[in-house]
Subunit: 254 residues, 8 copies
Amino acid sequence: MTENSLHALLSDVKNGEIEIAHAIEQLKHLPFEDLGYAKIDHHREIRTGYPEVIFCPGKTIPQIRGIIESILVKKNNILASRASEEIYEAVKDLAPNIEYYPEARSIFIQQVEIRKSRAKVLVVSGGTSDIPVAEEAVVTAEKLGCTVERLYDVGVAGIHRLLANKHRIDEAQVVIAVAGMEGALASVVGGLSDKPVIAVPTSIGYGANFGGLAALLAMLNSCASGVGVVNIDNGFGAGFLASTIIRQIELNAK
Amino acid sequence: MTENSLHALLSDVKNGEIEIAHAIEQLKHLPFEDLGYAKIDHHREIRTGYPEVIFCPGKTIPQIRGIIESILVKKNNILASRASEEIYEAVKDLAPNIEYYPEARSIFIQQVEIRKSRAKVLVVSGGTSDIPVAEEAVVTAEKLGCTVERLYDVGVAGIHRLLANKHRIDEAQVVIAVAGMEGALASVVGGLSDKPVIAVPTSIGYGANFGGLAALLAMLNSCASGVGVVNIDNGFGAGFLASTIIRQIELNAK
Amino acid sequence: MTENSLHALLSDVKNGEIEIAHAIEQLKHLPFEDLGYAKIDHHREIRTGYPEVIFCPGKTIPQIRGIIESILVKKNNILASRASEEIYEAVKDLAPNIEYYPEARSIFIQQVEIRKSRAKVLVVSGGTSDIPVAEEAVVTAEKLGCTVERLYDVGVAGIHRLLANKHRIDEAQVVIAVAGMEGALASVVGGLSDKPVIAVPTSIGYGANFGGLAALLAMLNSCASGVGVVNIDNGFGAGFLASTIIRQIELNAK
Amino acid sequence: MTENSLHALLSDVKNGEIEIAHAIEQLKHLPFEDLGYAKIDHHREIRTGYPEVIFCPGKTIPQIRGIIESILVKKNNILASRASEEIYEAVKDLAPNIEYYPEARSIFIQQVEIRKSRAKVLVVSGGTSDIPVAEEAVVTAEKLGCTVERLYDVGVAGIHRLLANKHRIDEAQVVIAVAGMEGALASVVGGLSDKPVIAVPTSIGYGANFGGLAALLAMLNSCASGVGVVNIDNGFGAGFLASTIIRQIELNAK
Amino acid sequence: MTENSLHALLSDVKNGEIEIAHAIEQLKHLPFEDLGYAKIDHHREIRTGYPEVIFCPGKTIPQIRGIIESILVKKNNILASRASEEIYEAVKDLAPNIEYYPEARSIFIQQVEIRKSRAKVLVVSGGTSDIPVAEEAVVTAEKLGCTVERLYDVGVAGIHRLLANKHRIDEAQVVIAVAGMEGALASVVGGLSDKPVIAVPTSIGYGANFGGLAALLAMLNSCASGVGVVNIDNGFGAGFLASTIIRQIELNAK
Amino acid sequence: MTENSLHALLSDVKNGEIEIAHAIEQLKHLPFEDLGYAKIDHHREIRTGYPEVIFCPGKTIPQIRGIIESILVKKNNILASRASEEIYEAVKDLAPNIEYYPEARSIFIQQVEIRKSRAKVLVVSGGTSDIPVAEEAVVTAEKLGCTVERLYDVGVAGIHRLLANKHRIDEAQVVIAVAGMEGALASVVGGLSDKPVIAVPTSIGYGANFGGLAALLAMLNSCASGVGVVNIDNGFGAGFLASTIIRQIELNAK
Amino acid sequence: MTENSLHALLSDVKNGEIEIAHAIEQLKHLPFEDLGYAKIDHHREIRTGYPEVIFCPGKTIPQIRGIIESILVKKNNILASRASEEIYEAVKDLAPNIEYYPEARSIFIQQVEIRKSRAKVLVVSGGTSDIPVAEEAVVTAEKLGCTVERLYDVGVAGIHRLLANKHRIDEAQVVIAVAGMEGALASVVGGLSDKPVIAVPTSIGYGANFGGLAALLAMLNSCASGVGVVNIDNGFGAGFLASTIIRQIELNAK
Amino acid sequence: MTENSLHALLSDVKNGEIEIAHAIEQLKHLPFEDLGYAKIDHHREIRTGYPEVIFCPGKTIPQIRGIIESILVKKNNILASRASEEIYEAVKDLAPNIEYYPEARSIFIQQVEIRKSRAKVLVVSGGTSDIPVAEEAVVTAEKLGCTVERLYDVGVAGIHRLLANKHRIDEAQVVIAVAGMEGALASVVGGLSDKPVIAVPTSIGYGANFGGLAALLAMLNSCASGVGVVNIDNGFGAGFLASTIIRQIELNAK
């Protein structure tokens, strides 16, 4: 049922050409999804400033270009995740102010101003090798409006480095803990903090690490409460989840 | 939006107390789900004769009794799967014509006549130990309106038993192949037939069988095309899927 | 026992040179397989129009060329699945009307007309990245005689897109649901439909996706009944299974 | 180093009986952990109203009684999770106002008033069998100060039930999605909402469910962003994580 | 086609009432499976002395009794594997000379004399706990006609115990190596011998043993060549496989 | 203790320069391994005609050349398995009569005549893609003295192809069944034969095949008795195991 | 070759009744294993005070009684691990001074004095539920001669408890870290210490813990160097390994 | 709190400008971690001669260069593990005396003399292909001050090679057993020795080896006591753990 046919139906009601009971019956069976679609779309428009996200893997360059072009028209911000340098090179002509974050493998095009949150996200990471995933979390959260700080290379093999920065954990509202190997960082951070902790296992490691499975299982079994886990290497997901929490803090602070 | 409020809205349209454009806007945002709910419900009522299904595990006896009682009121048929003898004993007073199939662990209460299909389902099973799962498929498909035949104990270790019954495979429209151990039955049946084959791995086996994983993987990797797989021991699912195929055959035969 | 020796035996029976009982004994032990082979072969010939299928992986170019050439002689249609562009280039000289579907990685050579079914298959897919697997299902089903429609990019993260197209599900006789990541599409489609649903998990995803295992397990555990699952990325298998169902519908519609 | 010896050291500094440099050296090597311990203890005391939590499995009845008694002295609230009815019977004499939630398998003893949050947690669950895990989340979050609402039995096999309650998702600040089988609920809820979603896979299912692994992997691979996952059946962890988010909302709302 | 109808057909050929070509055509399509069945049956009868085997798990007592009774009539030997003491008690009235081997969990009823092989099977086992599986292999091989010797408790943690018995390995024609834990016995035995070695992993162990998976994988990856592996705890299978080898040795020795 | 020092000791005994008891004591503690080593070496020399085997993966070209050269000196036959074409090119100058089997990835250098067995090995394989593994088994068994026959492309999806060749199974003493995908071939062959069956799972397949795991588990769980399994793709191991069986048949036939 | 026959051979040498060269030949082939056995036995006797160990699972009460009785005769100490209370009750009459450690599930019978080491083992454990495994390590190490200290309930969720006891880690020569859940304790202890750390994963946990797999993988992937891992719940193995290290320290301290 | 501010605080105490109680309060909350950090640093300085270790994977060339340069300034020894030839080429200009061990993939720069231990480590390996991992263990242990010996190519398929070298095991204080395939070497070595055994599974193998999982599980389940396991291919970790044991032996030998 298109908007036109809905208009026709209501006209018929108005003109008495159709019984109200009969109209109700038709409306009941109307393909609600179209209306629902519009509704959600409308709803989305309210959230101005939120970027539309493109997950690049498995998409061809022409597909990615096409999606970017269609969002450019809508004047929304655009965040492309898991974007290789090659993808960036292939799309960078689409917008003069396109930004590329190579470590985070993220492309960003700003068309609307981002209002930064007062509440803060702290991204903590274990080793140097975990930094790309941590950076993906940082860039994602920032582009979704969060104020983000970094605390890197504080793995539990040298626990004093983490302890020496406990005040920084205390100052954040949400903590993202990024770690590979055995993923113990999430438990230690969770034990040191009563903030929501988002744990990101990374695939850094080898052998019985099984591509991040060791860290993933460790984080799911954390003896510290208050830890939510995202997929292996999913810095984007962690940044996104953090932004939903920060958003609730901001919305309810008004 | 309840039916009442919808009536009120349409009355306002009729009476000119609200602009059609405005009404459209309201309808667009109306919580479509309620209507959708009603619609599907209505739709379901058309399929008279179809039992409502209760999956028993994890439900308490009082919960199961409650659900049965509410369906009894609606005068629909009831099929309770994975129902232990204990459950049957605890609910058998609810309906005088309640039936219990101990091997299939299924309870059935008929309130509406089932029209049997002309198209046939053949349930083929490997060993004696697979029979309970096979029977679950049989009872499920029968109560969902299928004409069902059994061909049991024709495992591939004695391939001649299966070959000797090839004509029975040829006479069915849908074949369900139930097997544990290495699950090779599905491939052999699939190779002998150009009918849709629904493969049910069972947990019969031990050691590196890993609770039916061996048969499951084998069936998913069948070198015969045209095989769809359901969960381990899921005789119910196989019977149900068969019934949807039979139903399409019957519907389109008219 | 060749046809010649069988003829000799029967001549001996006719001429009384051998006792009937003795002939029976010989026939009992006759290598039935040769006859069986012929029989099935014969049976296969009836199904004119059905393509012979070549699964390319693990076969050398000369092997593939040889198989194609031998089928060309038989005047059957040929469908080569999992055929890389390189394979296509290496065999395209074999038939002037050879077709290549790059997304579906399928080669088709038509030698006999395909009669399209009235019954319809709807191929539903989750994300853009799932399209190659979906296309493999589409091409396979079409070349096996099905009328196929596509409904792509209706993943559950934006459930309204799927709901808005529920009527298309309603209009099909068989639905193929193709999805990677968490594979929830199969459950939602299964819940919206009482048609047979063939679920195809794809390997799209990363980390704890484990090459499609996440979607595979999800689909096998679908809370919606009536879902049969094929192997990860097995668009071919889904298309083939759909064609066996459609075939039964068509055969029984006469 | 106790507070006494620290006092003595400082007195010595004050009296000039020890060089400042020497005192620094001692302080540098002082077992900082004791102070750290005290500090955290002190810090914990500020969070009055927060229960101390006892994870019961693997603890003997005498151990559990001992821990409860020691907390009773401190006048803190006590939440014992995974507490069987047998444990409850064995400890219920310890406090007259002890409460037991059998579905949630939780014991609570209130000694300090809990101030309820304005921000709300909505606990959504798939099937009847998931309710015990959902209730564990509810009781945990409530005892940790959250206002909690329930939305049960809205699994994706009947998507309309969930859609019909979308407004309830919209009214909460945090959503907990509890589901077994294929765990698709988390993705659908995540797609319908821009709130933080905490996904709890349950072990409800059989066969290729592998004790909740299917739902766990599905939730980790959710195509909806903004989903954090806790361990299988970990209703407690979900409730706790929700409470840390709610707490940040409340703290920053002042 | 029954034997009767085959007789009728041949009579028709003899009497000239049917063309030979026509008869050939009919025979070509004759349901070979029935003849095949008979043939194989016949073939089986030649192997007199071989027991018919009943795998007990998943079969009910009445089913097992029924199968035993039907074999008793045929005057074949009967070997029931995985037979609990309870099963033995329930069937022991069926034959006066029934034997029960509790460690091997095997029932045997002799109706035909077993001719013992000259070639020998040596069953080697690692620890005391592996003995039940080893005994299952011993009893199976013996009842299938093998001369069997035992060499138990020679695990690799005390390699001298095995080395001190190398001559016993040298004197056998087939070696069965039964071991749990890490299953290294198979490799060491394989390295010491140029006989066929059948490796049986047992489920003895705990933790990362994963129900025998550790030993299974070790045996499949043996650095010693000439090792064939059977399922975890499958003493029966090892004994059976050994008997097929011994049988070939005996048959070809004549 | 070298042979020299042993000679000296015995001379001392002979000359009465050392007490027998004392000599016994020394001999008791003599590093038996050296003698043991010699003994085994000696034993090996008896088995003239047996090739020494080189497993190439993980070895450098110089290492492989060195090993070949040292065996050439000993005038033994040499079989190098898993030898890439590159390796062959790098070593082919070492012996004028070097042979390379590219499908089997095997190098062979004959220095001693191989006496062919009368007993036969039949290598059965499922699909065209399994041939390289099957060929590895063929070449290995042949070079170890077996008479080998091939029966390829008789996968269970077209069971008649296998049945039509049952007599070839009957004529062999040992059967090797090579199959990927779901590995059902081993069960069907095992069911058709009472010969020892060596099952070789191959890694042919994709998705839930998990690199041959599906076929491996299927073969370990074969419902046909008398099947021994080797590692995935381990054609060499199957050929070797077959040769140990054939060897026992030949040795005991004299 | 027994000692008697060796004596006879040497006598023959002495008397010139056999050539030395011939005697060497015989000795070369002498079943070295028997001598080797004696040798090792002798060697074992030197290690007086070391208990002989009985691993109880899978052994019957009579078997355990028999083994204990045979060791009692040898006057060695006896340590029975994984001994249930039931086993203890069934064997306690065998020795008046038998000791039972119920938490450690260990039986000990002292017949020879144990000399305690100066070097110390510290057993650190995460939670109350890990204590049984920790106690198994303690009892094992103590009975093998180690001086052992306990540091329990210092899991990483409250890292200060561990830090406050760092000096105790500093005072030990070997540290055993026992932890379930995510097993992070091993990494943190490893990071705080430059002593050998033996990590024992426990099966404490649920869901994605998979019976201790999470802790096991975490410990194997520890970002702290110097950590050796034993099997899940293997307190005995950790105690034993610690004792071998302590023993080397003691032996080399002299 | 820096040392300066601590000095200021103590001066204030001395001068009476701050109450002792107040100072205690400040010290209690002082960021102990900084002091703790210094303390550990100080402690580290004592261990002169110990190299600082760089784990190369996941680090960029500039990062590795930067880390090396900063350690060069501190005049510590440097050990870079998992360093490819490419990395070596890119950093070799940083120090004239840089050494590269290509098999061990290790870079070493000596700035301080290494005092070799009297106690010895023996590195035992199974096959030629395991040598790179074994060499990583050798180089690591040597650079950490251990005297190391090699015993290579003594896999259990030819057990005599190992037995012939038992005296070398007896002469070492710590044994590292490196093996791929089925990893049985660790059990055999553990059975032959009462020294601490560090087991290193390697990823050598294929098929059901699953990248070293087979050897890993075997080693964790070793029937020989006294075996500690490190991650797959983790020669570095084994060498490091060995050095911690050797170090305790040396320290306590004084």
